[in-house]
Symmetry: C2
């Protein structure tokens, strides 16, 4: 099945390259909207805006939902107003709102005027993209407390079926306040005359519209929730975050952590084919920060220039000490950052974590320090040089473990992103300490070298 | 609500520290099993095995499911046989199988003899932990093609309710082969006499028992599936992977990528509180690899020892060039690795990706190269030294972008994990090229320095 899909995708690309739009369209129509989105996602914008309106409206709306947000925004900016309005009407309210928010205000207003209904979308335009309100959909299957099970089923039968999967039904009172939750399964297996209130579970976990999307994702993944109901300040049910949003948030957060650890701005919008200008603005500032730490190290080394002038071989090995420390520090850091992200670790564990890293650092220091000392002694034939570099490596690996633990925990404690800046701080510190330890010891024992 | 939970968790810890087990137990019983798991997860093993059997069986089984796999395994190894058997009977078959697989074989067999039913669990013991078969649950809600909607509802009403959320019902033929899927919602909104075959969707996406769990997760997230049915070679339905497994797989894969980029074994079982011995076996081998690349750099520098002996200041700046290259290479690498993981990028994009990184590398090279040249000139007053370091930085940043792109794409092309080893290769190469460029240029223009 997967191979067949690959063949079809290749055929579509070949047809498009040959400008055989009709064939491409025919092949495209056979695919799932998620694959249609893949097929057109790396084509020129011109082609995308030509092809999209030729799919049936349902499909085209699905394709827009499956595209990256910035790709969808680019296409939406080019489509004829009527076409776009028709598509937005078919889309999930939260996805439609995302696209509207990415349009120029004038165009967004014009499109909304041509839409059949904006009731579901309009409230979503108020919320920040990364809050519960920005992620939620407003299409919520609602039951009232006084209904019976058979009423509820008839009511569901007559209501417009949702395109998102809502298998939890939310129970509200007459003021719209969230009271409880009923599974569709409990509903159909209940006796028809049972009241909803009797079968609902009132122990319902919810979040508030202004909560951060990451907090919502953590709630959902912690309690294994498929959907998370979202309430306003008066506890009125205003929307629901579904499991597919959860998956997106988890992927985005992982992307941000990976970027932050690689000294990139923690911004999940950035991807391999983001505009070059965006790449530069997310990467270059961190290279300047790195420039700063690099010159700090250079300054430390310059304090030992006289020593190096006497024994040039020190320049050969100084980076070994610094580099190993940086590497070990990054290892400790990655485990801490992931532990914090997955909530396996809190600030109160700091002593336990530090103690462990001290032990690990010492064992690493012994294992690597002895190896380094041995190699340098064998290569250069000077036991003192071997001893000094071995000691410096031991010390720096100890520092690396401690810093890899302390820096992220401290940042987290002061409500900063523990991933961001941690990496540059840890390697900056292990560089400085590594150079200072090795060159310092060498200066002290200069007569023996 | 969150604050209240924190208070309760702290009170439980305080009670346990005071050895007031009764109070701890009372507080614990009020919590959701996910939070109960949190509350006991960092307590001594002795305490955990004492507390767990005192919860009611349903809750205790849930707590075991919410604990980390290795924590659950440790507790399972200590619990009395009968207690453990009772808990495993209540657990999801896939989670129970995971625990059984972690026990010594003798103990596993003894426990299974005491369990009420092992029919659901036994088939799962054959599959690898990271395959579809290892992840799936065997509790699948099944309908037969010849049923009517009202038959199906009666059938569901009489069947034992599942604890996992199955809202998609799978339709099979008389040989157990997967034919289609019916949503619970479609079922209850269909006319009672409609046949299941008429309302089922036969375009059902499935995976095979031996497929990699990562592939399954990608299918689910690509097509926004809540559940993924798993079939054997004869297309017989044998299980289903649910959305909560999907979330776990996505988190595990992100953890592995983060670890791999930090030069750690890509193994999501490793966390902040893993045994020290495990920490060392996952980290130390990579430090030895790093030792190799560090001495490779040292060897390159040693070729220029004569130059450094004449002009010691080169030792001060050599690491600036290498370090900036390593940093820029890691940035490019992180974006590529994430793009490959999220399938935004394939090998056929290699020329486009390389072209972009060449442009970005040149712009970074100009921006950083000029800055480095300026700082060195101002600091040392030697324009030639500034020029040389600026040129070397420019060249190394270009190399960094190219290597950050080529290395992961090439590894992926040869079916290797693009994250693993990429980082050490890219920084190894930028180190060697950085030192060689700077010291080589310095040797060429020695008279001017």
């Amino acid at each position: 099945m997967k191979e067949q899909l690959e063949v079809t995708l290749t055929n579509i690309r070949t047809a498009l390259d040959r400008e055989d739009i009709a064939l491409a369209q025919k092949l495209l129509n056979k695919l799932h909207p998620a694959d249609q989105a893949d097929a057109i996602s790396d084509r020129p914008l011109q082609e995308q805006t030509e092809m999209l309106p030729n799919l049936n409206v349902d499909n085209a709306a699905d394709v827009l939902e499956h595209l990256d947000e910035d790709e969808a925004a680019e296409i939406a900016a080019k489509l004829p107003l009527e076409t776009l309005a028709g598509l937005l009407d078919e889309m999930e309210p939260d996805e439609a709102a995302d696209i509207l928010l990415d349009l120029y205000e004038e165009r967004a207003l014009a499109v909304m005027e041509k839409m059949v209904s904006t009731d579901n979308v309009r409230p979503l335009l108020e919320y920040d993209d990364d809050t519960a309100g920005g992620r939620m959909t407003t299409q919520v299957p609602i039951l009232h407390r006084e209904m019976t099970a058979s009423h509820a089923i008839t009511y569901l039968r007559n209501s417009k079926p949702d395109s998102e999967n809502h298998y939890n039904l939310y129970v509200i009172d007459k003021d719209g306040r969230l009271l409880g939750i009923v599974g569709l399964r409990e509903l159909i297996t209940a006796k028809p005359v049972t009241s909803i209130e009797a079968i609902m579970n009132s122990d319902v976990i919810s979040a508030s519209v202004n909560d951060d999307q990451e907090e919502c994702a953590k709630l959902m993944s912690h309690y294994n929730l498929m959907n998370l109901p979202i309430v306003n300040q008066s506890n009125q049910l205003v929307g629901v975050i579904t499991y597919d949003d959860l998956v997106e948030v988890i992927e985005d957060e992982a992307t941000e952590d990976i970027y932050a650890l690689a000294n990139l701005s923690a911004d999940s919008d950035l991807d391999v084919f983001s505009p070059v200008s965006m790449m530069i603005t997310r990467r270059l500032p961190w290279l300047y920060v790195n420039l700063g730490t690099a010159f700090l190290s250079a300054f430390v080394i310059s304090r030992f220039e006289a020593t190096i002038a006497k024994i040039a071989v020190l320049a050969v090995f100084q980076s070994v000490v610094a580099g190993l420390g940086g590497n070990a520090g990054t290892q400790a850091l990655a485990i801490m950052v992931r532990g914090l992200a997955l909530k396996q670790l809190e600030f109160r564990h700091i002593w336990r974590a530090l103690g462990r890293e001290l032990v690990i650092g010492m064992l690493h220091g012994l294992a690597i320090g002895i190896a380094v000392a041995g190699i340098v002694y064998l290569w250069r034939g000077n036991p003192w040089l071997g001893l000094i570099i071995g000691l410096a490596t031991f010390g720096n690996l100890l520092v690396a473990g401690v810093m890899g633990t302390l820096v992220p925990l401290t940042l987290k404690h002061f409500h900063q992103d523990p991933a961001l800046a941690s990496s540059i701080l840890v390697t900056g510190i292990t560089d400085v300490i590594g150079f200072a330890l090795f060159l310092g010891l060498a200066t002290l024992y200069l007569p023996y070298l």
